[in-house]
């Protein structure tokens, strides 16, 4: 038995029969529910759809395309059916035959539910209209394929490789002993003064590493700065309290602070209970930290990391207790609140430079200089692009051809 109904007697044919019955009833229901469905009179049997593999994917989609004939009524629907290599058929959804707003009389559909890499699939299309369903022949079988690289992200990959190369180059230069200068950052210069103030007043230091989990880069940067602050606090034998919103961050902070105390030669002054978990709730955390500030009255507050709406609550409460406050965040929406309420604020990338600035480790300094070099390149591209736009050049391709 050949033709569109081939496969009826194969294994799974019962399922095929059931699916066909369901598909027929589905199509009939569509026609009943669409009283304005156009009639198919005057339309020829459609040619099989063109089937192609969807590029840059994991081999689980095929793209169908077809031409809509002139004279096709507006609102014409196309019903699609798929057949796999073993003959099992499945009716896909009915879609508008013509893509809305399309300049050409073409339609398309991406089948993401059925195809799997290694299988082969054929499709047919029908113009769906009251009283008539004009099925095409089956298309040639197509196989979806897996791509190893997403070509749409080649520009990101190139930029990443370029930036990595610049970074590694400057790290290598630092390893060879090159002298690298970085400018003064007032917020980081004030860390020693802030820790000293807490020591003189006999009050603790409060350090909040932000609300984001450990996999966020800002939290990693905050924990790096915490290590430096903890070392200074250990040298001065000043109590350091670190309330945490995330339990993983708490575990890492405990490790870092304990090692900082050991490095400062004061392992006995480490108090594990001072680095504790509060709650995962955003405002619950804010309430907990505010309560600690009002009761313990720390002399110095550090708000370093990612913060959200609770930033102003924390900063203002700390301001009310008279503490010196150093904040640092990469959340641009929270920076104004910290700048207003804190004595020093690390703006954006200064947060990431924090551990480099405090430790002055040559390799990290080299990486920081690499970052600056990349910024110069970006600035140059921005200036060039702005000039071109000012001259009315919106597309370089005609000039490159």
């Amino acid at each position: 038995m050949t033709g569109p109904d081939a496969g009826m007697d194969r294994p799974g044919a019962g399922r095929t029969c059931a699916w066909n019955r369901i598909a027929t009833w589905r199509a009939a229901a569509l026609l009943l529910l669409l009283p304005a469905a156009p009639r198919a009179q005057g339309l020829a049997v459609p040619p099989p759809p063109r089937v192609a593999d969807r590029p840059n994917d994991n081999g689980r989609a095929l793209v169908l395309a077809w031409d809509v004939p002139d004279g096709a009524p507006p609102g014409l629907l196309a019903l699609l059916e798929r057949r796999d290599g073993s003959g099992i058929r499945d009716t896909l959804q009915a879609v508008p035959a013509l893509e809305p707003g399309a300049a050409e009389r073409k339609g398309s559909f991406t089948d993401e539910r059925g195809p799997r890499a290694g299988g082969s699939y054929a499709y047919r299309i029908a113009w769906l209209a009251r009283g008539d369903t004009l099925w095409s022949d089956w298309s040639e079988a197509s196989e979806p394929s897996i791509q190893w690289f997403n070509a749409e992200r080649v520009s990101v990959a190139a930029a990443t490789l370029l930036f990595s190369g610049i970074l590694i180059g400057f790290v290598a230069a630092a390893r060879r002993g090159a002298t690298l200068f970085i400018r003064k950052i007032p917020g980081l210069e004030a860390v020693e003064e802030a820790v000293g103030r807490a020591t003189e007043m006999g009050r603790p230091i409060l350090y909040s590493p932000g609300l984001d989990p450990m996999e966020e880069v800002s939290t990693v940067a905050s924990i790096s700065i915490l290590g430096q602050v903890a070392r200074k606090a250990a040298e001065y034998e000043t109590r350091l309290m670190v309330p945490n919103r995330d339990p993983i961050v708490m575990a890492v902070a405990q490790e870092v602070v304990r090692d900082a105390h050991a490095e400062a030669g004061r392992p006995d002054t480490y108090r594990a209970d001072d680095i504790f978990y509060t709650t995962y709730s955003q405002f619950g955390y804010a309430a907990a930290v505010c309560g600690i500030m009002m009761r313990e009255k720390p002399a110095t507050n550090f708000f370093i990391g990612k913060f959200y709406a609770e930033s102003l609550i924390l900063a203002e409460t700390g301001n009310a207790t008279g503490a010196i406050q150093i904040a640092g965040t990469d959340s641009d929406s929270q920076l104004p609140f910290f700048i207003t309420s804190c004595d020093y604020t690390l703006i954006g990338e200064e947060l990431y430079a924090g551990s480099v600035y405090l430790s002055r480790e040559p390799l990290l300094l080299g990486a920081l200089k690499g970052q600056d070099a990349a910024r110069v390149i970006i600035l140059a591209v921005l200036v060039a692009a702005s000039l071109l736009l000012a001259l009315g050049v919106y597309d370089l391709r005609p000039y490159l051809d």
């Binding site: 997403n150 870092v256 900082a260 207003t340 954006g348 990486a367 990349a374």
Partner: protein, 213 residues
């Protein structure tokens, strides 16, 4: 091994996550999902550590009857009540949903509402004109705030046959100089994030591992 093991492990995992962004291959996607699942497991286990830390912190305050010990009692009582209720009756009925709707949600809303008062006090401090920059900030703030209320539409000038109202100036301030500065910060933040992530992947940044790293 204690120093290099975590660095190598972190670098390998990071490379998988980085490569997954550029490759749609199912093997990498499966690895990505596996790592995310592993992270959830680690989170659950460290949550137990977090709860132990929380209970220890408050229990020691209760034991020593330090000032504010009743807040610690409230914290431990709340933890016990919510945990017990959810274990016995689930989270859909019993004490848990009632406490969430009638205690936790109103408390969260109360904390959020504090922002209104804190914004007022912070604005009062920020807008004191003590320098040129503070004066500029005050002027821009007044223009933007007035431009956002219906009254701003009434403040306008006629020039060259066109009517220029305050909301237009307000929008210009937000769309041009403010947005330019914001984008500058975002470019720096983006570079900083990529650089820090690369330093972690390459094992250059190890301060988060503690001593000896």
């Amino acid at each position: 091994m204690k120093r290099t093991g975590p660095v190598v492990f972190g670098s390998l995992i990071g490379m998988v996550m980085l490569l997954q962004y550029f490759s749609p291959h199912p093997a990498l996607l499966d690895g990505y999902n596996l790592i995310l699942d592993m992270k959830q497991v680690v989170f659950g286990m460290t949550l137990i550590l977090g709860i132990v830390s929380l209970v220890r912190y408050h229990a020691s305050k209760l034991k020593r009857k330090e000032s504010g010990w009743f807040y610690s009692l409230a914290a431990i009582s709340g933890l016990a009540a919510m945990s017990g209720s959810s274990i016995i009756w689930g989270t859909e009925r019993g004490f848990y949903p009632w406490a969430f709707d009638n205690i936790q949600a109103p408390m969260q809303a109360t904390m959020f509402s504090l922002l209104a008062f804190y914004v007022a006090s912070a604005s009062y401090r920020a807008f004191r004109v003590r320098s040129f920059h503070a004066g500029l900030l005050l002027a821009a703030g007044v223009i933007v705030m007035l431009g956002r209320v219906p009254l701003g539409e009434l403040i306008a000038v006629e020039f060259g046959g066109h009517r220029y109202a305050l909301p237009q100036l307000s929008s210009w301030i937000l769309d041009v100089p403010n947005l330019a500065a914001k984008r500058g910060i975002l470019v720096g933040v983006g570079l900083g994030m990529v650089a820090t992530a690369l330093k972690i992947l390459l094992g250059i940044e190890r301060s988060y591992l503690g001593k000896g790293a």
